[in-house]
């Protein structure tokens, strides 16, 4: 049951965020699936296998990003159309809230501990996205960037 909630919940949440971010209509459902995919990886690792949440978030973000890369190729859209809404379930909003609450209650040590985890989680999401992007760029030859530097000669 909890699996079903996680799956449907993350799909709905990601798709709703797709609407908030004005993603193109034809990518709405696929983006939702990418988000659910990433969240299921996170839940599997963090809740079932007891992996550290930072590592689990990294894996989840990597999953979202890789799924987004593949979708972007097939539907010929920028990767961010899928990945930006897809990573939202992994964003440590709850952790940021807890951090703030502990500061309010004058529990500064606990606040700093949670704040540090929040930063690490945000960093691991970004790293997962970049890591996937770099891997795809390295291993696909079709998509070579046109001269990165500005001058043509």
């Amino acid at each position: 049951m909890s699996w079903l909630i996680a799956l449907c919940g993350s799909f709905l949440a990601t798709m709703s965020f797709g609407i908030l971010f004005n993603v193109p209509r034809k990518s709405l459902i696929m983006g939702g699936l990418a988000g659910a995919f990433g969240w299921m990886i996170y839940v599997l690792l963090a809740r079932e296998l007891g992996v550290n949440i930072v590592a689990a978030t990294l894996a989840g973000a990597f999953g979202v990003a890789t799924a987004s890369q593949i979708l972007a190729r097939f539907l010929k859209m920028p990767v961010t159309v899928f990945s930006i809404a897809g990573i939202i379930p992994l964003v440590p909003g709850g952790m940021a809230y807890d951090t703030m609450r502990h500061f309010i209650e004058n529990e500064y040590t606990e606040g700093i501990r949670l704040g540090t985890i929040t930063l690490l989680l945000a960093g691991s999401i970004a790293f997962g996205l970049i890591f996937s992007g770099v891997l795809t760029d390295t291993f696909s030859r079709r998509n070579k960037p046109i001269a990165k530097s500005s001058s043509s000669k």
């Binding site: 939202i88 970004a126 500005s150």
Partner: protein, 259 residues
């Protein structure tokens, strides 16, 4: 690749098309490197000798040198409001793809970009409100809330997002809209609790503030930093921090009042 159809354009025209593309992307919340890359590619396709672009999240600098000995141009464009709109980013991307394949003349590209700029939001406000409410409920569930928490967070999240959008349009200070929205969310959550519903207040609040949380800003900030766009990375980071702080402050006021 048929480059033949691409006619040589004047530097001023190239400049205009590049800046328009950059402006739409920046207003829609694209990453810095994507904007710079798009402008550079467009300029190079219309054959210029050199192009330099520099994008921060509040402005664009673009400098274009022509092949023909025409005078080079440098322009600056200031951006005031930004709203995430991935549809526009995808549309500009499509235009830029067509330009680099040589399928659009500079006039056609200009008209196409102007149409993108004028296009209204893809989803009407009512649908966005519904999405925000639904997202709040879903987040409460996947963050470990019970079914009884679903409806309260749908209501709190919906009202919070509604207030945020309305006040954000009225006031110059985004901070105020965020504080007000999260304060209301906290108030509604506690209202349900005091009415006798056995909800998990923490889960309801966390789920309901998610539509306001600057998740995109945070990740774009780190991405910009890693790509070497240090200035815009730090600026986006500061914006994200202030948004998070505003949300926390709103909740904090409620907690402080009730304690």
């Amino acid at each position: 690749m048929t480059m033949a159809s691409v006619t040589k354009a004047s530097v001023a025209d190239i400049m205009e098309v590049c800046l328009l593309a950059g402006k739409i992307m920046l207003k829609s919340g694209a990453e810095t490197y994507r904007i710079e890359d798009t402008m550079n590619r467009i300029a190079q396709t219309y054959t210029v000798r050199e192009v330099h672009s520099y994008v921060t999240n509040t402005g664009i600098f673009l400098s274009v040198d022509s092949l023909t000995g025409e005078q080079s141009l440098t322009k600056f464009l200031r951006i005031h409001e930004r709203q995430i709109n991935l549809n526009k980013i995808a549309d500009v991307n499509e235009i830029s793809r067509k330009i680099t394949l040589g399928q659009l003349t500079i006039e056609e590209a200009h008209i196409a970009l102007q149409n993108i700029e004028k296009a209204p939001l893809l989803y009407p406000f009512r649908l966005q409100l519904l999405a925000a409410a639904l997202a709040s409920g879903s987040f409460t569930l996947i963050f470990g809330g019970a079914f009884i928490d679903f409806l309260p967070s749908v209501i709190a999240g919906g009202v919070g997002f509604f207030l945020y959008s309305k006040f954000n349009r009225r006031s110059e200070v985004k901070f105020f809209a965020e504080v007000l929205a999260s304060f209301t969310i906290g108030a509604i959550a506690y209202l349900f609790f005091f009415l006798g519903l056995e909800i998990h207040i923490d889960k309801v609040i966390i789920g309901s503030v998610m539509p306001l949380v600057p998740g995109v800003l945070i990740t774009n900030a780190v991405r910009d930093l890693m790509a070497g766009d240090l200035l815009s990375g730090l600026a986006r980071g500061a914006e994200a921090f202030f948004t998070a702080f505003a949300i926390g402050a709103g909740i904090a006021i409620i907690l402080a009042l009730l304690m």
